[in-house]
Amino acid sequence: MTETENLQTPLLSVQSVTKTYGPHLGCSDISFDLYPGEVVGIVGESGSGKTTLLNCLAGRLTPDAGKVLYTDRLGSALNVHTVSEPQRRMLMRTDWAFVHQHARDGLRMTVSAGGNVGERLMAGGARHYGNIREQALDWLEKTEVDVSRIDDRPDTFSGGMQQRLQIARNLVTGPRLVFMDEPTGGLDVSVQARLLDLLRGLVSEMGLSAIIVTHDLAVARLLSHRLVVMRRGQIVETGLTDQVLDDPQDAYTQLLVSSVLHP
């Protein structure tokens, strides 16, 4: 880690977050802490409130109750939902990154790959074309996107390439915290494996902290240090990844783990 960070202070502290959609429950009374350098996986079946929770954490949704505290680079704790909008948007494009399930939601499909990667740099004030392009090339290489495709639009890319491009676009400014919503969703297994390798490499190399939402336990096992298991909007079990997956305590977690096919 490049900065001197107090590893005892959580980077993100989630306190009793509840979000409902009218009579329908999104997630209820969720609390956990994310420490610097840690990757937390949120697993659960479809409709269990994983994505709602992630959107609350990333400031994209406002919870009905509870709060989310983020410790910024200066060490002060910011309430994600009560900081001023300029400050939150600033966080979103500098300190944070959000990798969408569908690359189309996170990319500008009418702008070239290079422009996509460069956007966060330019938003941060970069005004030297040569440097922006150099960094874009560097990141395309890191994310294993063919560098000769830098001037092509992402709608000419395959799903796996689009997802890797989305990751490059998000990580180019060196964020401290990455939110990922089903990063491998909709990709075939071999492409998934390469993407997971890539993510694992980047996470350890950059010392990223991340929250990964997935329904795929294999993804959770590979990427995350700790797991949060959700069902019907509530946390049913938390613990170290291996512990939760190898020795599940809750009945639902046991069901979840035993549902995975082992070829």
Binding site: P86, A123, I150
Partner: protein, 294 residues
């Protein structure tokens, strides 16, 4: 005050719009001048012409026109093209003001797509007709989002557009509606004027008003305001240049129109600013085309 027209006996309020409408537009103009480059919404009226023909510019002109004003109207720099002729006639009829083709003598100039070549002086007002006032529109279709971007000064996206130009064409290929930053704050679309005219907007002595009729927005650049064209450090802003001087007046430093002369591909380059060109010809300047004709 009202003006009776000679031909059909119909009576219009001075400069067509009613006084309440003029007041409403003037209030928007005051706000626009107070916040240079900021797009002020206004309750744009239906005008007796289609959108896209300068309804925004006409409403601005009508609201600030005074009986002793001298009006000049240009379209693509020319005083004698359809749009210019009809708007000039319109105001002659509904306001009875004096009109001119001389940039020097005009107090109010309504323009489409050009800024006169002759430097404007204090006391003059330049009114632009604007089709699309939002410079971020083609990158961000949501109005709520573009407003937020202006409010929070999040202008990275504008450079993404310029980046794309360089990546695709090797240079910034935007030639008109080239985005500018006004008074070091708001990004503004200078209407579809060629980027050749951008430097003229910077610290201009005249007041510049922009009216977009369909989009119902007004914005302004007060006199002597900084207007900077966006660029990259390694790809600085440049204006167009031509290999030939104007065929009629020999001017080498004006915006030239290319005119195709025959089926053999003969072409001629002439000043797009007709007043500038004729003034120079009267002063005795000659271009290569004139010399050949003699």
């Amino acid at each position: 005050m009202s003006t009776e027209t000679q031909d059909d006996g119909l009576e219009y309020n001075f400069a067509y719009l009613d006084e309440q409408t003029k007041r409403m537009i003037r209030r928007a103009l005051l706000k626009a001048v107070a916040v240079p480059g900021y797009q002020v919404p206004f309750a744009g009226r239906e005008m007796p012409m289609p959108y896209g023909w300068g309804t925004g510019g006409i409403q601005v002109t009508a609201s600030i026109l005074e009986p002793d004003d001298v009006l000049k109207v240009i379209d693509q720099g020319a005083d004698d093209t359809t749009n210019a002729v009809s708007i000039r006639k319109f105001f002659q009829r509904v306001a009875g003001v004096a009109t001119t083709e001389k940039t020097e003598g005009a107090t109010l100039i309504q323009t489409r797509h050009r800024i006169p070549e002759m430097p404007l002086h204090e006391g003059q007002i330049l009114v632009y007709q604007v089709p699309i006032p939002e410079p971020l529109r083609f990158l961000e279709p949501r109005e709520t989002e573009t407003r937020k971007m202006h409010a929070l000064e999040e202008y990275g996206l504008m450079h993404v557009k310029l980046y794309e130009d360089i990546a695709r064409h090797g240079h910034i290929a935007t030639t008109y509606a080239y985005p500018v930053k006004v008074n070091d704050r708001y990004i503004m679309d200078p209407s579809p004027t060629p980027k050749f005219d951008n430097p003229k907007m910077n610290r201009c002595a005249a007041l510049q008003l922009f009216g977009a009729g369909r989009e119902k927005r007004i914005y302004a650049v007060p006199p002597y305001t900084d207007v900077v064209s966006l660029d990259f450090e390694d790809h600085p802003f440049e204006i167009q240049a031509w290999d030939n001087p104007c065929s009629l007046c020999g001017e080498t430093n004006s915006f030239l129109d290319e005119v195709i002369m025959d089926d053999q591909g003969t072409r001629m380059f002439v000043c797009s600013d007709t007043d500038h060109c004729t003034t120079r010809q009267q002063q005795g300047y000659q271009g290569p085309g004139q010399e050949a004709a003699e």
